[in-house]
Symmetry: C2
Subunit: 261 residues, 2 copies
DNA sequence: TCCGGTTGTCTAGACAATTAGACAAGCGAG
DNA sequence: CTCGCTTGTCTAATTGTCTAGACAACCGGA
């Protein structure tokens, strides 16, 4: 099936909820051209559309919108470099970069992960501070709430393209010079080693999906409002003691998380 | 930090790019009230807002929008049952159900997974057909493209609430009576056992995020346009031979995928 | 009872999104 | 070249979104 054929009544803003105590609420907050763009993007993503898009008139009919709306959707995709329209010929998929397969396992190391795929790892630290542990983080790190933690926020890149923004918490008492070591080495593994931690491994990873916030969008240099894969992880030392709580927000258009059993 | 304080210029739809060779592309296709709603949702999600929301006037200022826009956002959240506005008192978070932690490992079994969390598993088959393997699926199942496959689409529920839509492919020659067995038993594990497969395990899982398509939204009975976590997996028999390719689309608001190492 | 704070409702205007129809411009095949 | 098909451009009208301001209704405490 080529593209989902939206029924007009469905994609249209339904006028329900009117009698519900006076609320304006009508549409779903996403414009039609955006929906169409997402639909086309998905069709390209899963290979339903390989090379050439159906003509605008046909797309308009399939999605149940006006041709101008389709054009706007295509313009957005073209601005992202995903398709390329040629007058008189058609609109063509210009093979976008495939998603980076970020493998997560017991020994997840950012740099190694990227180098294994011939991508150049990079990144920079955004902020570092010492903060008291909130209840949730304390539970993850198996410490008392209020304990001093390093909170380190950073950006990670592949071939210079922002891939994720990560926030990490470390027990400050155990790793006093951590931030300096992170700045100096640029590597979590190496910085922890300097602080006396020979090795660590990942205990668990919890994955959810969210919309890209405006703040993250800036960091990830994402034009369209995209999605993020949120990976919440805990890394432990060899005795099983937590050494790092990690929340990584991966750019969903550029990343795929891989778990092997 | 309570809520992201969007600068007016940022959240506003910028009117640049008009003269850029005739592309309509301007805004991001997401309305402001939707952004505000997502912002509040996120703040509720990560615990920044526990019980009561700041007053509408304050929210309006923080997000840099008019109070009416905030009201519309809140109306949308209220329609989803996430908050509850009380005239004269304030707007309160009405504790939504926590995400179901769906654990994925070598032995991922839907029913066991849910029962382990005291949730009642359910579901139904949507469609079943025999289709020729496309290149991608053939690669996953380690068979020749064009090979006959069972393609089974189904919905899975927790306590009667739709959790995911899944599409599975099985080699038809190896499991001739599979669909009948699935219909009869309602269990993949049991159906495969009847077809002579004693046990299977998961080889790998690849996770991405997408927007909920209109078709999926209907199946997952989601009012707002939500997100899905897409898990692409391969299950193999004990000799390592693929027996099932699986694409599961989890409702992102209701699910969290858990991987232990 | 009064008063400050909060949500609910209404009007009006500016601007963006969408539809509709028409036509120009370019491509490729017969 | 001519014809059919496709993308590019334009105008006009309609509908949706957002802002602005004002006021009503309601709650809780002083």
């Amino acid at each position: 099936m080529l593209f989902y054929i939206a029924k007009r009544d469905r994609i249209m803003t339904p006028a329900r909820l009117w009698s519900l105590g006076g609320m304006d609420a009508v549409g779903d907050g996403v414009t039609r051209w955006r929906r169409v763009a997402d639909g086309i993007r998905a069709a390209i993503g899963d290979g339903t559309v390989a090379d050439r898009l159906p003509p605008e008139a046909e797309l308009a009919e399939r999605f149940g919108v006006n041709r101008h709306t389709v054009r706007r959707a295509i313009a957005a995709l073209a601005a992202d470099g995903l398709v390329r329209a040629e007058r008189g010929r058609g609109t063509f998929v210009s093979g976008g970069a495939p998603r980076l397969a970020y493998e997560i396992g017991p020994r997840t190391r950012f740099s190694e992960n990227l180098l294994a795929q011939a991508r150049r790892p990079g990144g920079r630290m955004l902020r570092a501070a010492i903060v008291p542990a909130d209840a949730e983080t304390a539970a993850l790190l198996d410490c008392a709430p209020g304990t001093d933690l390093h909170r380190v926020e950073s950006i990670r890149e592949a071939d210079g393209v922002p891939l994720s923004v990560a926030t990490a918490w470390y027990p400050a008492a155990r790793f006093p010079g951590l931030v300096a070591a992170l700045v100096e080495t640029g590597s979590v593994t190496e910085a922890l080693r300097r602080e006396g931690l020979a090795d660590y491994r990942r205990r668990e990873t919890r994955v959810t999906a969210e919309r890209l916030s405006a703040a993250d969008a800036e960091h990830l240099s994402s034009s369209a409002d995209g999605l993020v894969l949120v990976a919440r992880a805990v890394n432990v030392d060899l005795s099983g003691r937590p050494v790092q709580a990690l929340v990584t927000r991966f750019h969903a258009d550029r990343t795929e998380l891989v778990f092997r059993s």
